[in-house]
């Protein structure tokens, strides 16, 4: 490492969901465990598994019945996102003891830039890595794998290199042997499609990618090609962002807000679709209002019973954070694309608000619109939000949303989980 090199850690909590479940349920320790969605609600896939289940061949994302066939003694437990969020928050509190620059990457991963505090540890990065690892183990009962390097991409590579409960240093002295010899798909943002394209031109390792000419990478993959080459060469200079809890646990500019749900039964008619659309729009609009935002675009995602899916989106005349307007726009999009006469069965829907503007941004009034009425509706929804904040999201519900008994009990907003954001954020 050079004297002016940054010291970035990437900390990955091993088998996170499953490890938290095993910690809190001593009776399932030592057995293959999978955290799985609710099968009766048709969310029955493996969300996470522990090492024993992994060794039995269980894969994340496969159906629970498939997992049970591979591993009959598999213990399946339902997810408890509240608990995972709490564990994640406590882990971040530990990381904050070492640096204010903590950038979460999902619930179980985070980058921590310890360049500024390393002198407190005698410039010994290994000591910091060991201390963080030991503290997470002692205070949360979870193991982590830590990667340390001078850039974020190699630090992430390091945390994936050896697990569980391991520390990997990727330095300027060893990166050619450690990173460059690895298959290209182990680099951040090289997925199956990119790997196929790289394979077609004979690029199999990260080292080969690093040594490929920038113009070749650009012609092969466009702008992303050059970015990947920079990643592979260890030249990524992106900073570890300071985490801002006030920014809705995301720490980045919010570009869209959406919710989706696989319905407990197939949706066949307009009433079914409307019930779910209103449930989703209610959560989306409430989250918009919490963030003081309005949407100018509404998008829907539809998946049918055959698992094929598509998206549609439409611009709104006026920026809005009203549930009814978002729901009407979303339902309109679906009604234009679907017959809703029982001939097509829909499995899941998603509603997303995009084209976000701040709620205090000036609004162009419409000569024919009823601005006063919209203002009244905003006040009404604000009052309902206040009630929900005090008495729970289900204290005031729309008749449309409870027309379907199977879905009436859902609390989409409370169950909302923010998943990893992309690396390419402003």
């Amino acid at each position: 490492m050079r004297p002016d090199d940054r010291h970035i850690l990437h900390i990955d909590m091993n088998c996170f969901y499953a490890a938290v479940e095993c910690l809190h349920r001593p009776e399932i320790r030592g057995r293959p465990v999978a955290v799985g969605g609710h099968e009766e609600l048709r969310h029955g896939i493996v969300l996470a598994k522990n090492l024993l289940a992994k060794h039995a061949g269980v894969k994340t994302g496969e159906a629970l019945w498939e997992a049970r066939r591979k591993c009959p003694e598999l213990v399946v437990v339902p997810p408890n996102y509240r608990l995972y969020q709490e564990c994640s928050r406590r882990a971040r509190m530990i990381y904050y003891d070492y640096s204010p620059c903590v950038e979460p990457f999902g619930l179980d991963e985070a980058w921590v830039d310890v360049s500024g505090s390393l002198h407190l540890f005698g410039m010994d990065a290994d000591l910091v890595c060991r201390e963080v690892s030991e503290r997470v183990k002692a205070e949360l009962g979870l193991t982590v794998s830590v990667g340390h390097s001078w850039n974020k991409v190699f630090a992430k590579f390091g945390s994936d290199y050896r697990k569980p409960d391991a520390i990997t240093h990727v330095t300027r002295e060893n990166y050619r042997t450690v990173v460059w010899s690895a298959p290209v798909q182990e680099l951040l943002y090289v997925g199956p499609a990119t790997r196929r394209k790289l394979h077609a031109v004979g690029i199999e390792t990260i080292g080969q990618l690093a040594e490929t000419d920038a113009s070749v990478m650009r012609s092969l993959l466009g702008k992303v090609g050059e970015v990947l080459r920079v990643f592979a060469r260890g030249e990524d200079a992106s900073k570890v962002k300071e985490f801002d809890a006030a920014a809705n646990d995301v720490g980045h500019v919010i570009k869209s807000i959406g919710n989706g749900l696989t319905a407990p039964h197939d949706l066949v008619c307009a009433t079914d679709v409307k019930a779910l659309v209103y449930l989703l729009a209610e959560s989306v609009a409430q989250r918009l209002r919490e963030c003081s935002l309005r949407a100018t675009v509404v998008a829907v995602h539809v998946r049918d019973a055959g698992l094929s899916s598509y998206s549609r989106q439409a611009a709104l005349d006026t920026a809005t954070c009203l549930t009814a307007e978002i729901a009407r726009a979303a339902f309109g999009l679906i009604a234009r694309a679907e017959p809703l006469d029982g001939t097509r069965r829909l499995r899941s829907l998603g509603v997303r608000a995009a084209g976000l503007v701040r709620s205090d941004a000036p609004v162009q009034l419409d000569v024919f619109g009823d601005a006063a009425h919209r203002l009244d509706l905003e006040c009404l929804e604000g009052a309902i939000d206040a009630l929900r904040a005090r008495f729970g999201n289900r204290c005031v519900r729309r008749a449309t949303a409870i027309s379907d008994e199977a879905m009436a009990g859902f609390d989409i907003k409370a169950d909302n989980v923010i998943h990893p954001v992309g690396l390419f954020n402003p």
């Binding site: 910690l23 809190h24 349920r25 001593p26 564990c87 406590r90 002692a138 205070e139 949360l140 009962g141 979870l142």
Partner: protein, 98 residues
Amino acid sequence: MVQGIAERIKRYVAVVALTDSEGVVTPREVHWFDGRVYEVDEVLDVQRRASLKVGGFGLRYLVRVGKTKTYLFYEQPRWFVEEIVPETETVLQPRLEG
């Protein structure tokens, strides 16, 4: 397994605690579910720790109750102990021992 101990279970307990002006919480009394009250004579140690025995995490207080030292976990907002289930006794006699 330690001799004489069949297992440990997570037992939530009522605790009388003092929160001082700095926000430091000190447990004073542990109210057992059967009505017995154990006075905490001394807090020997406080650390953030996970309980690997019964599951859970929070502030772990090492407290002295009479001659016995035991762990008391503050899993905000609740308190729990790692209750011993004796191996030999047929009727479970809970004990607050570490």
